[in-house]
């Protein structure tokens, strides 16, 4: 005996629309899978790679995206295609996000002090925080007040959660009030710097991990990111240059990093040596010589500098 869904499938197959029978069958078959897990919806086995997920999504889109049937009479199949494509894109999004998420960096250092800080404040006045929050949410409260409350909150969050602070500051600025806006702009720069150095620290750890594994290009990439995220970190610039030279990709980038490292720490001999080495490779002998001379001035017996100087000549 045919079930309900069989019957609707039969009805759909006989529906007079601008679609070949094969395509109708394909659409109905995929529609029947929509309740299943994300892998099955995309036509994959669980555990496939991110690339496979992307490829399956793109292939399926070429069949099921409504634009492929623009201007055609689709009857009930129009809504079916919409449903299928939406589910496909959902499944793709979820799987890609899950697969891309790298293991979280060690957070022991950043988590512990945060907890103790809020704990301390709670002991002093258990409900102050809550009262302030409630007040800030009150719709009748002047918007300027809301803005300055947000600015204060952002200031507290600045060290521990700069990204959250940035969002709060942006909101505070949109709420208005000249004073709050000015303060928010000031704090915003600080928060950006803070966020940059936090993310730079993450990238430094990633770089160290990659370097230990012997993944030179991974290390170069991570150190490079760290150096751009936090331009004040001389160690990041130095490592980025060092690993960049090892990987042997674009030497210009390595040189820029090295130059930056030197300008941050003019007394750091390895930075000068590294820059000189890169310059020699790039055929910029005179620049290399200048830096080698600088090294020899600080340390007249530096053997590496002498060896490199010979290469220049």
């Amino acid at each position: 005996m045919p079930t309900d869904s069989d019957r609707t499938q039969q009805d759909a197959l006989s529906e007079a629309v601008d679609l070949p029978l094969d395509r109708k069958r394909e659409i109905l078959a995929r529609e029947a899978l929509l309740g299943r897990d994300d892998w099955t919806v995309l036509g994959l086995k669980p555990g496939a790679s991110a690339e496979a997920v992307k490829a399956a999504y793109f292939e399926a889109s070429k069949v099921f995206h409504p634009d492929r049937y623009y201007g055609k009479n689709l009857g009930s199949f129009g809504a079916r295609l919409d449903r299928i494509f939406q589910r496909l894109s959902e499944a793709h999004e979820k799987l890609i996000t899950a697969l891309r998420r790298s293991p979280p960096p060690p957070t022991a250092g950043s988590n512990a002090p945060r907890r103790s800080a809020t704990g301390g404040k709670a002991a002093a006045d258990p409900r102050a925080e809550e009262r302030r929050a409630r007040l800030a949410r009150h719709p009748y409260l002047a918007r300027g007040g809301q803005a300055s409350a947000l600015v204060e909150e952002a200031q507290r969050a600045l060290r521990t959660a700069p990204d959250k602070a940035l969002r709060m500051l942006e909101k505070a600025k949109s709420l208005g009030g000249a004073v709050a806006r000015e303060r928010a702009s000031g704090l915003e720069n600080e928060a950006k710097q803070q966020l940059g150095s936090q993310r730079a620290a993450e990238q430094m750890r990633a770089g160290e991990a990659a370097a230990q594994k012997g993944d030179a290009s991974g290390a170069a990439q991570a150190y490079g990111r760290a150096a751009t995220l936090d331009p004040a970190r001389a160690d990041a610039a130095y490592e980025a240059a060092r690993w960049g030279l090892k990987v042997g990709g674009l030497l210009v980038e390595a040189r820029n990093h090295a130059q930056h490292a030197v300008s941050l720490r003019p007394d750091h001999l390895p930075s000068h040596l590294l820059l000189a080495e890169i310059c020699i490779r790039m055929g910029m002998g005179s620049v290399a010589r200048r830096h080698l001379d600088a090294v020899l001035k600080l340390d007249p017996r530096n053997a590496q500098a002498k060896a490199l100087l010979r290469q220049v000549r």
């Binding site: 992307k54 490829a55 793109f58 889109s61 070429k62 995206h65 409504p66 634009d67 492929r68 049937y69 623009y70 201007g71 919409d82 494509f85 939406q86 894109s89 999004e93 891309r100 949410r137 719709p139 909101k171 949109s174 709420l175 990439q221 490079g224 990111r225 751009t228 980038e253």
Partner: protein, 615 residues
């Protein structure tokens, strides 16, 4: 099967517009009737009441600043009371007035014209260009808008298409179009970023591309940051210096302002190639009282321009940074960076992009044409089932509903791939609440009133109950056309209310209908006047031919009674015909052309009979 109707792609720009089409599988730019690829997005009405579009309109802008509209894209779909319009009114030489429902109109001559009508004039021009090139009528198009245009601005652009007699198949985001054209026919696989800095807007998009599928990952931008702002910095500097030197505020002089604008744009463009340029505007200001006119002479260096616009350039990369961050993409993951828009020719912009993305941007696309080519490709992809191109686009802004306390609850976050739909359950917020008002919002602010209100409706007949007990399902749906529909359903009773959100582009449906009807009338007028024009030229050439025959006829037959009579009558006919040519009466013109023709045949016959060869 007959060949399919051609579908064109149009880049309706702030400064210039471009039209393109796919032929033989390849996209091409269609030249306009003056032989140019770019048509200035300028519309003007002359003192004689004639409407001009494109190059002709731009050329006369200096002498007719108050009736020449440029950069109208910065105004379309906005509210008259908005900040942007207030600022624009200070710097634009033409007059902006308020429409009936806080919409923006431009005073041209004695009429207040809506923005969709202005854009329609440009679109119609492009449509005619395409028809002239293709030799057949064109009624369908894909039109691009900045990714960051909201629903109102998109709707206004669609309305403009309708007024121009174009069925707009799809409104496409400019950076997406650029990516489409860039990636078309190449084996690009991976993530690419499009940095599109045009005359009025900045758009940044990140796409993932593989085998003809273009998946938009994230898009963002600023609808008020573009070349016009760079020009304005130069104008400000010139105005300030002029005021210091001569004590005259040029901003009050509309004609001077228009000339300054022209000169500023030209200087900016030149400084992309040169290190230094001169700005010479003779007779810029004539003081009242008949004293001699003041000239403006200044030089501008590239570094000075960079100094004047440093913060603008900085802002463009900040926005790019934000978009990448939202897309969770690191600069070094990008395969390519595509620069689009005329402003990306500026070396400082290229340097900032290079510094930010840490690589050289891709060369080899024409920044001003690539968007139109992409629009043509998408048009082709929609019409040709065999097309290998598929675009997976996203909603550029979040959609939500207003909730208690004046907040915005986002239901569909920005950068969600369309088509999509979401259902969320809400509860009543007051005791005994029997109605609920659903206000549909577009934007990123948490405060309801800071977002665009797309539409609202009321679900009534809820059961009397304490607050929080009645549950209402609200469903948002965006189909692949980008049309938003929202429905609310009382979970218990199944009572349902829904709307299709048609954001107002500034014109009410009635107003749009009126314009379309008037349009039909004026099209008729236009057709008649073009026939009159034809007859006039036929008349003048016929009259010239007859005049040329007269001396020889006189020479041969002037002595006879018949000859004198015929010549006298011919001269009469010519005089009357030329008089009629001054008028508009089509039937009179036709009569006189016939009479001239008869006279000509008569004279030619006479000359032949008398043995003289007619020339």
């Amino acid at each position: 099967m007959s060949e399919q109707e051609p579908v064109i792609g149009i880049d309706l720009g702030t400064t210039n517009s471009v039209v393109a089409i796919v032929q033989g599988g390849q996209p091409h730019v269609i030249r306009n009737r003056t032989g140019q690829n770019l048509t200035p997005s300028v519309v003007a009405v002359t003192n004689a009441g004639k409407r001009l579009v494109g190059q002709l309109a731009k050329r006369q802008a200096i002498t007719n600043p108050e009736n020449t509209v440029y950069a109208s894209k910065r105004l379309i779909g906005r509210k008259f009371s908005s900040d942007q319009i207030r600022r624009a009114r200070e710097s634009l030489p033409y007059h902006i007035v308020c429409g009936e429902h806080d919409d923006v109109r431009v005073q041209l001559g004695d009429k207040a014209i809506s923005l969709p009508e202005i854009s329609a004039a440009v679109l119609r021009e492009l449509k005619l260009d395409a028809e002239a090139t293709l030799g057949r009528s064109v009624s369908k198009a894909v039109v691009t808008v900045p990714a960051y245009f909201n629903d109102g601005q998109r709707q206004a652009t669609k309305d403009a298409g309708r007024i121009a007699g174009l069925d707009v198949l799809r409104i496409l985001n400019e950076p997406t179009a650029a990516a489409l054209a860039y990636g078309f026919g190449k084996q690009v696989t991976g993530k690419i970023a499009v940095f599109d800095l045009g005359g009025g807007t900045l758009d940044v998009s990140v796409l993932e591309v593989a085998k003809g599928v273009f998946d938009v990952v994230a898009t963002g931008g600023d609808t008020y940051l573009g070349g016009e702002d760079f020009d304005n910095r130069i104008i400000e500097m010139l105005v300030m210096n002029f005021a210091k030197e001569h004590g005259v505020d040029l901003r009050k002089e509309r004609m001077a302002l228009q000339r300054l604008k022209d000169a500023a744009e030209r200087a900016k463009i030149e400084l992309s190639e040169l290190q230094e340029t001169n700005i010479n505007l003779p007779f810029l200001y004539t003081p009242p009282g008949g004293t001699s006119a003041i000239h403006l002479q200044a030089s501008l260096s590239r570094s000075k321009l960079e100094e004047l616009t440093r913060d603008l350039v900085e802002r463009t990369v900040e926005i790019a940074d934000k978009v990448l961050h939202e897309a969770q993409v690191y600069p070094d993951e990008l395969r390519e960076i595509v620069l689009v828009g005329g402003m990306t020719r500026m070396p400082a912009v290229q340097a900032a992009v290079k510094r930010h993305f840490q690589r050289d941007p891709s060369k080899g696309v024409h920044p001003e044409e690539v968007v139109a080519l992409g629009a043509a490709l998408q048009a082709d992809a929609l019409m040709q089932p065999s097309s290998q191109v598929l675009l997976l686009d996203v909603t550029p802004q979040s959609l939500g509903v207003a909730i208690a306390g004046g907040y915005n609850r986002v239901l569909i976050p920005k950068n969600t791939t369309v088509p999509t739909s979401v259902t969320e359950t809400f509860h009543t917020s007051r005791d005994g609440q029997t109605t609920v008002k659903i206000m549909v919002l577009q934007g990123e602010s948490e405060l309801a009133h800071q977002n665009e209100l797309l539409g609202e409706f009321i679900l009534s007949g809820l059961r009397l109950a304490p607050r929080g007990e009645v549950e209402i399902d609200v469903t948002f749906e965006i189909n692949s056309e980008g049309i938003v529909s929202v429905s609310a359903r009382d979970k218990e009773t199944g009572l349902e209310q829904s709307i299709t959100v048609t954001a107002s582009g500034g014109l009410t449906p009635d107003e749009l209908k009126n314009i379309l009807e008037q349009q039909a009338d004026s099209m008729l007028e236009a057709r008649i006047s073009s026939e009159v024009e034809q007859k006039r030229s036929a008349l003048s050439s016929a009259a010239a031919e007859v005049s040329a025959l007269i001396p020889r006829v006189r020479q041969l037959t002037g002595s006879s009674e018949f000859g004198r009579e015929a010549l006298r009558r011919a001269e009469e006919v010519i005089a009357s015909a030329r008089a009629a040519a001054q008028g508009e009466d089509l039937s009179a013109l036709t009569d006189w052309v016939e009479q001239l023709e008869r006279t000509r045949v008569l004279f030619v016959g006479v000359l032949e009979r008398l043995g003289a060869r007619p020339q």
